[in-house]
Symmetry: none
Subunit: 215 residues, 4 copies
């Protein structure tokens, strides 16, 4: 009876509105520059309610990180069919990653730019998610090596190398995602293709025992 502004909504809904507003604000302004005032207003809610549901700015930020990380992981996992060959799995995962980050730029900014820049507690939160992905990629590379089977000519492609490669691959993907969001130069599929071309084939060479040497 007070106007159009909705009132008395179930807690879950209100909470989602707040977190949506928070992700958007944190993603665009950064953690420090985002104000609780702005978030509350964007959520169409009074500030005390934000505190009632989410306790503090830190907890709110953490909740955002967790939600966005989970959503990203879920998107990637949903895209990967376990039965396929490793390269096809990697391709699918990369495409899903680029698609998701392109569709949720604020969420991705929270994870990639903000969370890592504002102290250990947040950085650890995001590092956990990143590890999950790296582990997944590591597994794919190992599987690829196994699939290469008899053809495997380099028994020295040690676990440690595989881990490093996965890190580099994920890092390159993250960097490309940021570039995409900021410049809009390429589509998600193109980004995935570029990365596969750029990396997978070098990977193949590596597995054949080739190495670049500075000497």
């Amino acid at each position: 009876m007070k106007g159009v502004k909705s009132k008395r909504m179930p807690r879950a809904v209100r909470e989602r509105q707040m977190m949506d507003a928070a992700v958007q604000t944190f993603g665009q302004r950064g953690y420090r520059a985002a104000s609780m005032d702005e978030i509350a207003e964007l959520a169409g809610v009074s500030k005390p309610l934000v505190y009632l549901y989410l306790n503090s700015k830190e907890e709110l930020f953490t909740a955002c990180i967790r939600r966005e990380a989970a959503a990203l992981i879920a998107a990637v996992e949903a895209a990967v069919e376990p039965g396929l060959p490793a390269d096809r799995q990697l391709w699918a995962g990369l495409a899903a990653f680029f698609t998701h980050t392109a569709e949720h730029p604020d969420g991705w900014a929270v994870l990639h730019q903000q969370a890592r820049t504002h102290g250990e507690p947040f950085a650890l939160e995001v590092a956990a998610m990143r590890d999950e992905i790296v582990t997944f990629v590591t597994g794919l590379i190992a599987t690829a090596a196994r699939e290469a089977g008899a053809a495997r000519q380099d028994p020295e492609l040690a676990d440690r190398d595989v881990a490093g490669l996965a890190q580099a691959l994920v890092g390159a993907a993250e960097s490309l995602a940021g570039w995409m969001n900021q410049t809009g130069a390429v589509s998600a599929k193109e980004a995935a293709a570029t990365l596969m071309n750029f990396a997978w084939m070098g990977l193949g060479e590596l597995m054949k025992g080739e190495r670049w040497s500075s000497r």
Copy 2:
């Protein structure tokens, strides 16, 4: 006679102390979270002096970005001998890049994490430096293609592809540098080697006309 805190130093020296303190503080806390009070204290100076010499937080930050960017570019350029083959040049540049970022983690954090996250004026400052590096790498790749000379089997490796590859390579390097700084898992040389293996060989394949295909 008051302690170690020496007084009355020439302006240039004080200015350097302040910028050292600023880079450290900005790098660790972030632009917004860093306080001028903290920077002044870390520099062993009163706050007004910081303003007298550096004018404002924004200008101080910009000065930091410029100094660190120039130092990074200088380190890479100093390491590259123009006479060498392209792959050797790239290797030297990468090694210098990883070494420099490892030795100046706060400076790198300022450039890579903070400057890009806090508004256009700062982001443009860094983008200029990045472009310089990307251009340099693009040149190296083009040279490599030329050196591959008669052996070149893919006349379709167009300029656009070369640029994309340079972007991806630089992005991967940036990402790896961040990973190094945060986890300390690998040394600068190892990082450079990983990247050369990961990318250069794939590059070779690409130049031979090979492509990964999702079909």
Copy 3:
């Protein structure tokens, strides 16, 4: 129960308290010398609340100017009965003016001394009010001339002269008001009488065509 400082008051009330404190402080200290801290304390309120309601020192000052200007105009208008002869109207207006400025010395100081000394935006605000008064006085003089009717011997007392006279009259009144407030030498009624004697009679001479000449 904590003392006299009552808490939790409706916004309108608090706002008035703040503006009262602001007028007093601005009037006594001047715009620059007045500190928001002092105003807040005098209002019995924390500084952030002042900003929450009044936004900034500039806006607060502007609000003070507007409120005091409106109050002064209202006091003068309330005292003037439109039906009376012009000289009686002028007398009533002057008396009300002197009474009001004597009763609200800080408000008058804000209008007359502070607002005109601190930059265009503020000065324009007061100039608008002053123009309103000058226009009113100009009307009275014109009416007086008309009332002088047949007796009017100087058809050359042009509009321009009337306007100049009004300016001088208002200026003299303003100056007298300041003198009253600062020295307390005369009462409001005395000031009004002095001015009527001083000016109105000379005005009569002027309308008869008399002029003082330096030759």
Copy 4:
């Protein structure tokens, strides 16, 4: 040998430069808004020298008030020939007053606007000068009354009335001077003529015993 900037000037000259700069800055910015930095720079001198010669901002301001007050008084006194009739003396004094204030707007602003707005010590300084002028004008009116001699029909034009008239006259002149400086609407001679017309003739009536009465 250091450049064009003059050096090693006799103290008196330097001091005058500083006070010129100070009057200009105080007049335009106001006492609080004027910074010692700005004054020193405008004077072409280092800040410590300003302190060496003039001790503090307050003393510098006081010195400005005194110098400008003395100059104004001197200008008025120089214009008045004691032998002339009172009205001619008053005319000459007013003309000199308006001319001087028009030629030294910053000095006049310091006296009229700034000095009265920033606390007792300064206000008293300027009140002293004002009293000097008021006393002078009071004397002129008294003389005029005496000159009116036999014609004098009002033995009740008491000293107190004369003083009040002088105050009003001076006040009106001050107000007109401010209006001139701010709008440039009239010349000094015009302002003097307006005031003589406006006031002197009413004065004549008064001396004839006429009074305006509210009844």
